[in-house]
Amino acid sequence: MAALINVPSKAKRGDIIEIRTLTSHIMETGFRRTMDGALVPRDIITSFTCRYNGTEIFRADLFPAIAANPYLSFFTIAKESGKLEFEWIGDNGYSSRASASITVE
């Protein structure tokens, strides 16, 4: 699925950097019904993780009240050059990954 990641491409060592992520997902709550009364099954992202050169730096659990196409922003300290990896996991075996690289001087 499409994802939009905003990570500064360069940062100074020790800088606090903001990471913004947006991914496409319908986030069906599981509480809605169709016109004939049948329950629309829940289909949401349940977990998001961010790893910085393999080390987990941020994790979030997501719930049915979160809007479609979840947007998450968080901060970390730029320690070393490398790769930030993002993973979204959800219902029905949903899994999506994205990554971004950063140069720390």
Binding site: A2, A3, L4, I5, N6, R20, L22, T23, S24, M27, A67, A68, N69, Y71
Partner: protein, 259 residues
């Protein structure tokens, strides 16, 4: 005496037809963007926080994917959309010579699929048609709208205009009653805009998805408790055409974000 009176009436009619009472003068036109909160504006301005850009990305993938029995992708004929599609959405709905009537961008994409790709048409408001039209229209971002320049469209623009002015529904309201006469006021806490269609298809936070101008028009019709026209109905196309020609010269914003 009667003769002079007739001339006076004719002169009055000539001046008023150019700018009917209630119509917005060109330099007073404002995009829906200017009615939004700073937070929603910021969301639209930053491409990594604008959820409409997710659909543009999907549309870019669809642009290069081979479909139909002709096994052709959009890119096989149109090449790089960045140059070939620049300014295209800014002149839609456009006149189709074969059909003898205007077609919307969504309808054009489906005509292309039927005639050149030999593929099934994509259903209105489905993810794929919205993604493709968002991708195409995104190439015109910042380009001034030119819809309605084609003289073959005059009769259809006029039809759209009369639909815009016509009262309908149990609330007996015409589009013009809100969007010409009362913009900048509020309706149930939400600002009433001028209804300038500069950013379609756009991401509405209320819909939690991208939607077409036709979806917006149908919601308005349901709002005044009128029977909404079906997707692709000639009346909706005429209204879309009138609205785009009314916004002529304003820059495209696709994909816009609206509350």
């Amino acid at each position: 005496m009667i003769f002079w009176r007739a001339i006076a009436v004719a002169a009055l009619a000539a001046t008023t037809s150019a700018l009917l009472a209630g119509e917005i003068p060109p330099d007073a036109r404002r995009s829906g963007y200017s009615f939004m909160s700073p937070d929603t504006r910021a969301m639209q301005d930053d491409d990594t926080s604008n959820p409409g850009m997710l659909f543009v990305l999907d549309g870019e993938a669809l642009w290069g994917r081979k479909v139909g029995s002709a096994d052709k992708a959009c890119a096989d004929c149109h090449g790089d959309a960045r140059s070939s599609m620049k300014g295209v959405a800014a002149r839609y709905p456009a006149f189709d010579r074969t059909l003898g009537r205007p077609v919307t961008l969504d309808q054009r994409i489906n005509l292309c699929r039927a005639n050149h790709q030999q593929a099934s048409s994509l259903p209105y408001e489905g993810h794929d048609i919205l993604a493709l039209s968002a991708f195409v229209a995104h190439q015109s971002r910042g380009v001034a709208i030119t819809t309605g320049d084609d003289p073959q469209l005059i009769a259809f623009v006029e039809q759209g205009r009369s639909l815009f002015m016509q009262r309908e529904g149990q609330l007996n309201l015409a589009c013009t009653n809100c969007h010409d006469d009362n913009f900048d006021k509020h309706l149930a806490g939400s600002p009433i805009t001028q209804g300038q269609p500069t950013g379609y298809p756009l991401y509405r936070l209320e819909w939690q998805t991208l939607g077409s101008l036709e979806r917006r028009l149908r919601s308005c019709m349901t709002g005044v408790r009128a029977q909404a026209y079906e997707y692709g109905a000639p009346e909706l196309v005429a209204l879309e055409l009138y609205l785009m020609s009314r916004a002529r010269g304003m820059p495209m914003e696709t994909p816009a974000v609206r509350p």
